[in-house]
């Protein structure tokens, strides 16, 4: 787990000085760590992680915060402890040689000891005091001091001496952890809690449905505000990590930047730009509706834009996904080769929910992606109840949003009837919800895609037909005819019908044009013949007129002639 100091923004920091534990998450819920210079009681049943908790406190103190520590063990030998934690990367032997920690194993064997009267625990005081002074220790662990009760008979002496011990530790100004085994009806078997009243942390280990969950609760912490919930915590290869609900305040940074969904026509439904960066998107639908394809397309697009992405697969293996996506023209392998895409595939039942959450946290912190996808989250239900899954997803979304990572979940709806309350109740957590629904008609099933919601943007309210082709995914406007919404082949036949209509119409138009042309020709020829007729009539008329003129001229001439002739004759 990362050892960087955690943010303390969730709680107002009090005046009480605190010693950070360096345990991921714990310093957040305690607003800085354990009370400095005071003893803290860590209690819990067997195997709940008390000793590991204490060792981490000491080791982190020595390595990270420059506070040497004394580990006094009443249970395990120093060598055994060193062996146990070497796998976590803590070399206690080396730390001892560097005078950063001091291990001391206290052996008490009842059979060897005879009590012969009044005694005190000065030996323990001297021993502890000497150990503290020899390395200048600021931290002390007593694990678990209760073993004294089984080694020594006189309880009244023991109780008085323990009280003195804790007071003495306070005087020494060391930050101490006292561990105690959980007792019946009490936090510890011998009621240590009555001596240590500053800070009490309870560790628990519960099994539900064969899957164990570790829980941590701060029972009390005087003089400071602290988280009071039960926080799941994990012990893995790097030690303890507590997972608080990271953002209790819902104060993420937001951005108006957009991320393409990888399907241009879907972006068009979202104001033409796609989803907001850092938002969470849920794609839900029944089996075989192409949820994985949508997720893959989203990842593909992000990688094409040189963004880093993680694909968390809970159903299929990476190779299977790559092969399947290649068939629709999405080549994810190239992104894996370029180091842009990382697959993380595991069966949900592999570990408990908290472990999943942790591995997701780790992967995200290591790979630092801008886009992640979970396919499908529905399978997580096999390892936890609906409310647990919801709580886990809520923390996951909070975590991802705080890092401005865009996340796409896919969820399987088990029934074809859309129930707005299903989908693990995640729909209220996510920013955008895309629903792929099967539309069955005319003996075939087609996919209808809806944008159920998309916070903060105008999104299309229309149903689109979702088509998966060899070249990828696309959305087609569904045909709205007199018989309702048409999809698939019904839509295609309707489109065909429309095409035929266009051809026929064109044909009709062409015929009319030709007829008009013919009519024009007929008329034009008619006009020509009439013109001819007119000319011949005109000619006729002209002829008569000329003749008349000629005749008139001739008659005139003749008359003149006759007149002249008559005069001559006389």
């Amino acid at each position: 787990m990362s050892l960087k100091s955690s943010t303390k923004a969730d709680f107002p920091s009090g005046s009480l000085p605190k010693s950070p534990t360096g345990i991921t998450g714990l310093d957040e819920i305690t607003a800085g760590g354990l009370p400095s210079g005071r003893p803290t009681l860590i209690c819990g049943g067997a195997g709940c992680g008390k000793t590991l908790f204490s060792i981490e406190f000491i080791a982190h103190g020595a390595l990270l915060y420059g506070e040497p520590g004394v580990f006094m063990s009443f249970e395990e030998k120093a060598e055994e402890l060193a062996m146990n934690v070497i796998s976590l990367g803590y070399d206690l032997d080396q730390l001892q040689r560097d005078k950063l920690i001091k291990m001391d194993y206290v052996r008490i064997d009842r059979s060897e000891i005879e009590e012969t009267g009044e005694y005190d625990l000065d030996g323990l005081f001297i021993r502890l005091g000497y150990a503290i002074d020899s390395i200048g220790a600021k931290r002390v662990v007593l694990d678990t001091v209760e073993n004294l009760f089984s080694g020594l008979l006189d309880q009244s002496i023991l109780r008085a001496e323990l009280r003195r011990l804790f007071d003495w530790l306070k005087e020494k100004k060391v930050t101490a952890i006292i561990t105690g085994e959980k007792g019946e009806g009490m936090l510890t078997r011998n009621g240590l809690e009555e001596y240590i009243s500053d800070c009490v942390i309870l560790l628990d280990h519960r099994i539900a449905n064969q899957i164990s969950t570790r829980l941590l609760r701060i029972v009390k912490y005087r003089g400071t505000v602290h988280g009071t919930n039960e926080y799941p915590f994990l012990i893995d290869g790097t030690g303890i990590s507590v997972l608080p609900i990271t953002s209790l305040t819902l104060a993420h940074d937001v951005t108006t930047d957009r991320v393409s969904s990888g399907i241009p026509s879907m972006d068009k439904m979202l104001e033409g730009k796609g989803f907001f960066r850092g938002s969470s998107i849920l794609v839900s639908g029944t089996a075989g509706t192409g949820k994985t394809s949508i997720a893959a397309s989203f990842i593909h697009e992000a990688c094409n834009q040189k963004k880093r992405a993680i694909y968390f697969a809970f159903e299929e293996s990476p190779l299977q996904i790559i092969r399947n996506m290649r068939s629709i023209g999405i080549d994810l392998q190239q992104h894996v080769d370029n180091g842009l895409l990382e697959f993380q595939a595991s069966r949900p039942s592999l570990t408990g929910l908290e472990m999943h959450l942790l591995s997701i946290h780790k992967m995200v912190e290591m790979f630092d992606p801008q886009v992640v996808t979970f396919d499908p989250i529905t399978n997580l239900i096999t390892v936890g109840s609906v409310s647990e899954v919801k709580s886990m997803l809520m923390r996951l979304i909070d975590f991802l949003q705080s890092r401005q990572i865009t996340v796409m979940f896919t969820a399987l709806s088990l029934n074809t009837i859309i129930n707005e309350q299903t989908d693990e109740g995640v729909s209220s957590l996510v920013d955008a919800w895309v629903l792929v629904r099967e539309i069955e008609s005319n003996g075939e099933r087609n996919r209808g895609l809806y944008i159920m919601k998309s916070r903060g943007m105008k999104h299309s309210n229309q149903v689109r037909e979702f088509v998966i082709t060899d070249e990828g995914l696309s959305l087609v406007d569904v045909y709205l005819g007199p018989e309702g919404v048409l999809t698939g082949s019904a839509r295609e036949s309707q489109q065909l019908l429309e095409k035929t209509g266009v051809v026929l119409h064109q044909n009709a138009v062409n015929r009319k044009d030709r007829e008009i042309e013919r009519k024009r020709l007929v008329l034009e020829s008619k006009i020509a013949s009439l013109k001819e007729e007119f000319e011949s009539v005109q000619d006729e008329l002209n002829k008569a007129y000329v003749e008349e003129e000629l005749r008139k001229e001739v008659i005139e001439k003749n008359r003149e002639q006759m007149t002249r002739n008559r005069h001559n004759e006389q």
């Binding site: 000891i113 005879e114 009590e115 012969t116 009044e118 625990l121 001297i126 021993r127």
Partner: protein, 107 residues
């Protein structure tokens, strides 16, 4: 009732030497009482057969860890074997004798 007789016979025959170490803390009441009580018991039951070393843990603090010291005063019977540890001010004589493995013979 036969065994104790033979045992005490053997012990008196062998007359084992006792090597004792008493860890105390300075001049505390328990320490002073423990020293006085122990000396009294030894002189009474094993006179001349013991060596007693009194160690002030405050003066040799490192001993606390190496000798596995928790409760004080602490008496360690190094010899005869087996090694035994007795804590307290040695006021309970019967327990001290039992712890040291000394039979009083009166029982």
């Amino acid at each position: 009732m036969i065994e104790p007789v033979t045992l005490s016979d053997l012990e008196s025959n062998d007359e084992p030497a006792y090597e004792l170490r008493l860890f105390v803390t300075g001049a505390s009441i328990n320490s002073i009482r423990a020293i006085a009580n122990l000396k009294h018991i030894c002189d009474m039951y094993i006179p001349g057969r013991y060596s007693l070393e009194i160690i002030d843990v405050y003066q040799q603090k490192a001993l606390a860890e190496s000798e596995q010291i928790i409760a004080l005063p602490l008496l360690i019977k190094k010899l005869p074997m087996p090694q035994r540890r007795l804590i307290g001010d040695m006021s309970d004589t019967a327990k001290v004798l039992k712890g040291l493995g000394i039979s009083t013979g009166s029982e």
